[in-house]
Amino acid sequence: MMTHPSGLILPESRLSDLMREHPHTIPVFLRHHMVCVGCWMSKFDTVADAVWNYGLDMETFLRELNQSAQSIPPQGTD
């Protein structure tokens, strides 16, 4: 699952795809002290899983991710 065609990051976006396509979202994870960056499970888990695991607020977290991603053009997916 990747980002929405509009560039919007969704709860069902896969973490590994998200961080590869929008590396500027990585600081958001680090800021919340989340171990998702480089995690072996990031290819299985979604944004919703991460929000649930860390007890975050979905709306706020998605806003932070989308703001970071949209400040920088998406990277190639090779």
Binding site: M41, K43, F44, D49, N53
Partner: protein
């Protein structure tokens, strides 16, 4: 990530930066070798005379210790190279490669390999990368054995196997490998008793479901927390 299986032969590290035509030519020089469950592609200390890429089945890489104990180092699943030491000169295999089930592998013998490496020098660069990845993973595992608690090592091994071969199912991430608890114990350097006790504990906590030769990770993040715990 070292030893990460790929879905297409063309995606192997061995073929990095080679054109489709070059890859086709290299694949043409391979022969296919089928073996049955229990048979060996090669034995530890045999001269390393061929390089393999597994395309079907599962292969156990094991090593005998000086006192005759057999240690499981890795399970190879398609599509992954093994016997990469044959890409270097004057080497013997450090492990034995035994089929767990009926297997098919592409095989390049030593003579063909040296011709290929001469014709496609990029393959030699790629081979170095493969071996560097192997060294890196084993260094990491060695450090874990030397410094980490057993629970953490076991969690890291299960996560590593899940990353390499796991499949996402509605109930969790499934690692479906022919691994007994004894195998897991050997891979993380502990006893069968400790592995059984730890897996049972994780099962009662709802982290995993451990079947025969199958582990279902019900709560991946719970296992990650154990794996990431500071010593």
């Amino acid at each position: 990530m070292p030893f990460q299986p790929v879905s297409r032969l063309e995606d192997l590290t061995l073929f990095n930066k080679l054109t489709e035509e070059e890859i086709r030519q290299i694949l043409k020089t391979a022969r296919q070798q089928h073996i049955q469950a229990g048979e060996f592609y090669f034995m530890q200390d045999d001269p390393a005379e061929a390089f393999y890429v597994l395309t079907k089945g599962k292969v156990r890489l094991t090593q005998f210790t000086a006192d005759g104990q057999q240690i499981l180092l890795r399970i190879i699943v398609p599509v992954t190279p093994f016997g990469a030491v044959a890409l270097a000169d004057h080497e013997t295999y450090p492990v034995s490669a035994q089929a767990v089930e009926a297997c098919t592998a592409l095989v390049w013998g030593k003579t063909v390999l040296s011709q290929l490496l001469g014709r496609f020098p990029q393959m030699a660069v790629n081979a170095v990368k493969i071996m560097a990845e192997h060294v890196q993973e084993f260094q990491q595992r060695f450090t874990e054995i030397a410094t980490q608690r057993v629970e953490r090592r076991l969690a890291r091994m299960i996560l590593r196997l899940a990353h390499q071969t796991g499949v996402k199912t509605p109930r969790g991430v499934e690692v479906n490998l022919p691994l007994s608890r004894q195998d897991l114990a050997e891979m993380v350097g502990t006893t069968l008793y400790t592995v059984s006790r730890t897996l049972s504990q994780w099962e009662s906590q709802g982290l995993i479901q451990a079947g025969r030769e199958r582990i279902l990770i019900l709560h991946p993040h719970g296992l990650v927390k154990i794996a990431e715990e500071e010593t």
